[in-house]
């Protein structure tokens, strides 16, 4: 048993109770969960603490909160692990971010999370004609989408999404991972339409800023950001959807830039991402960027020679790599979720050798 200080963020906007911290001292096993601690306090000391929870086994996804600054499920976070993020004793529990608080640890999932999930048409739009019997799909394709199917809709990734923090309209990690679940499903018939829609939404596919918060937040290993990158890859590289957010053009401009220069030539990247220096889209943007460019020139960060010339060229070996790989008939992708990692203990346990089980002798036998 160990003693912890449980600090719970309380608030009740409907009754005008503003957010404040309440501390309780709890004594529990180190392996007990943060939810165990919250429920102990709720049962024994203050029944008014608001928290959603159900299965207490990391399946239902209802008890997601922020624990010492990190989002996750209260029921599958050990007290010892949570306290280690702070001083070993204190565990601060607050409601998920990016969503309005209803009361205490309960946030309005309908207003944000579920609204965004509904936005991506979260059901299969079956390929026509529907076969008489079941669809037969390649095993790997289904393993691939099981990663996003593992989502339990807890909202932990939504809580800490840094793009959503500044752009409330961003569709966000959970909903985009859900979108990939159908785009990656060989049985879905409207992949192109889905991708066109998501890439042209100004708060869609290309609003993700690669912050990786959702990957670390997810208690189920869904890696939402990786699913967003897959969506971009299929929308951009495969379907060449020219979106109005410059997402596809930026990707193309970047790849072309490195193939040509070996190193990034920043002065070309901005105009090329808008369609080229003379493109009607690029001109107003370049004019808006003029003060920034002029300051950079004035400070000697950039010289005219460096900005207009191309001081470095890619070695021919680098160009050869681009040409070899870009000309493959099919893209080669190693998906570690499907393939697993060599030498991982999990893989070793899958060998044909049965694991010997040693049972302790029964008490009678021991005599």
């Amino acid at each position: 048993m160990a003693e912890y200080t449980l600090k719970i963020r309380r608030a009740d906007p409907s009754r005008g109770v503003v957010a404040h911290w309440e501390s309780h001292s709890v004594e529990l096993r180190e392996s007990a969960s943060v939810l165990d601690a919250i429920l102990q306090v709720k049962d024994e000391r203050d029944g008014s603490i608001g928290i959603r929870c159900s299965c207490q086994q990391g399946i239902c996804g209802s008890c997601a909160v922020r624990i010492n600054g990190k989002p996750g499920l209260a029921c599958n976070t050990h007290l010892e692990e949570a306290a280690r993020r702070d001083n070993g004793v204190t565990i601060q529990v607050e409601p998920l971010g990016n969503m309005p608080v209803i009361r205490d640890l309960i946030v309005d999932m309908d207003a944000v999370h579920w609204k965004k999930i509904r936005r991506v048409t979260p059901w299969l739009l079956a390929k026509q004609p529907v076969p008489e019997r079941e669809y037969v799909v390649p095993h790997e394709a289904m393993v691939d989408v099981t990663q996003s199917m593992a989502c339990i809709q807890c909202g932990a990734c939504v809580s800490d999404c840094l793009s959503m923090e500044v752009d409330r309209e961003f569709i966000g990690p959970a909903a985009l991972a859900k979108a990939y679940r159908f785009v990656g499903d060989p049985r879905d018939g409207e992949q192109a339409e889905r991708l066109y829609d998501l890439s042209n939404d100004p708060h869609g596919l290309y609003d993700c800023t690669h912050c990786f918060n959702c990957i670390d937040a997810c208690p189920k290993g869904v890696a939402p950001m990786s699913q967003i990158m897959r969506l971009r890859r299929i929308a951009g590289s495969d379907q060449k959807i020219e979106d109005r957010n410059n997402g596809y053009r930026h990707e193309q401009a970047f790849v072309k830039n490195i193939r040509r220069n070996g190193l990034l030539h920043e002065a070309d990247l901005l105009p090329d991402s808008y369609g080229g220096k003379m493109h009607p889209r690029a001109v107003p943007e370049l004019i808006r960027s003029l003060p920034t460019v002029l300051t950079a020139l004035a400070r000697g960060k950039v010289t005219l020679f460096k900005a207009l010339g191309h001081p470095h060229k890619a070695p021919k070996e680098v160009r050869r790599i681009f040409d070899t790989i870009e000309s493959r008939p099919e893209r080669i992708e190693l998906n570690l979720y499907v393939s697993g990692i060599e030498d991982e203990p999990l893989r070793a346990a899958r060998t044909d050798e049965p694991t010997p089980i040693h049972l302790p002798p029964l008490e009678e036998d021991a005599e």
């Binding site: 280690r84 840094l162 793009s163 923090e165 752009d167 708060h203 290309y206 609003d207 800023t209 690669h210 912050c211 990786f212 918060n213 990957i215 670390d216 990158m229 890859r233 590289s237 957010n245 410059n246 997402g247 930026h250 990707e251 970047f254 790849v255 490195i258 070996g262 190193l263 990034l264 030539h265 920043e266 990247l269 901005l270 003060p291 920034t292 300051t295 950079a296 400070r299 000697g300 960060k301 950039v302 890619a314 070695p315 070996e317 680098v318 050869r320 790599i321 681009f322 070899t324 790989i325 870009e326 893209r331 080669i332 992708e333 190693l334 570690l336 393939s339 697993g340 990692i341 060599e342």
Partner: protein, 304 residues
């Protein structure tokens, strides 16, 4: 120590002061830089998004070039390079079959990547290989009373597992440890682990600059004198774009942003001009008195 040195693109492009400052502080740190001048861009996540095999091959090539040197390890000075290269390395090291396939492409150039290269950002090298005690011993002008806000950049702190951040290697605390070792005061503010916004600056400039502006504003509200970043891409959004970001968040900003080697160099008593601090958009006047007070102070420390 000799290291295979990968400076990245931006430190030789739009933030040339970073590459220059690194060259100035390396001899003081006892680091001999073997520059990988034939290597190509890490892809910054964008090439991996376009075609992972292409990103993996370009970075395997960089790793192979590093392995051809006699450097103890490979070192970068860019959070984005660290993150993008770690991601590629995780795939290359996970499967012999895949690695051999990639090596097949490199073979034409006579290169070959052997699994498990050690590739570290300068920040990690400072704490894990050089050590904070050595760092303290090199300080000629302690950054006394200088309030420094750490700004890591996403790619060097997440995902935690891929970047080897654990109890033994609290790499997400190293900037704070380095600031303190140099005699400065760490500013605890909301933005230290947030995104600078750079990756979406061409796709959603409003969101991108709101991120940059808010991070800078949060540090100002906690009375920071400056920020320190181990990532030149963060520097672009936090410094070069700071005037534009100020417009987006609707308040005055004006907070200097230093590259990690510049902060080291200042504490080691180097001339701020030599460290390229005149090249910043936000003049680092709160950090140093341009009337050469730093040199005077460092001389005073050296000859009390």
């Amino acid at each position: 120590m000799r290291v295979a040195y990968w400076p990245g693109c931006v430190s030789r492009g739009f933030t040339p002061e970073l590459h220059g400052a690194m060259a100035k502080v390396a001899p003081l740190l006892g680091i001999e830089l073997i520059e990988l001048d034939r290597a190509a861009c890490c892809g910054a996540g964008v090439i991996a998004e376009h075609n992972p095999e292409l990103a993996d091959t370009l970075n395997a090539r960089t790793f192979a070039l590093a392995q051809q040197t006699d450097g103890e390890l490979m070192m970068n000075i860019c959070s984005t390079c660290q993150g993008a290269q770690s991601e590629c390395q995780s795939r290359l090291d996970a499967s012999t079959e895949y690695r051999e396939h990639i090596n097949g492409t490199l073979a034409e150039e006579g290169l070959r990547y052997e699994a498990h290269i050690t590739n570290k950002n300068l920040l990690w090298v400072l704490v894990e290989d050089i050590g904070l005690d050595t760092l303290r011993s090199l300080v000629r002008r302690p950054l006394t009373d200088l309030r420094v806000g750490p700004f890591y950049g996403c790619y060097i702190v997440r995902p935690v597992a891929r970047l080897g951040i654990d109890d033994e290697h609290p790499r997400d605390r190293y900037l704070q440890m380095v600031i303190e070792a140099l005699g400065g005061t760490v500013v605890d503010y909301a933005g230290a682990y947030k995104c600078c916004g750079f990756p979406i600056v061409t796709m959603n400039k409003q969101a991108s600059l709101t991120m940059a502006g808010r991070n800078v504003a949060d540090a100002i509200d906690e009375h920071a004198d400056c920020l320190v970043v181990p990532c030149p891409l963060c520097h672009l959004n936090l410094d070069l774009q700071q005037p534009a970001a100020a417009g987006v968040v609707g308040r005055e900003l004006g907070l200097p942003v230093l590259h990690l080697p510049q902060l080291l160099g200042l504490a080691f008593g180097l001339n701020p001009h030599q460290l390229g601090m005149g090249k910043h958009v936000v003049r680092p006047t709160s950090v140093i008195d341009w009337s050469n007070a730093v040199l005077a102070a460092s001389a005073a420390t050296a000859h009390p």
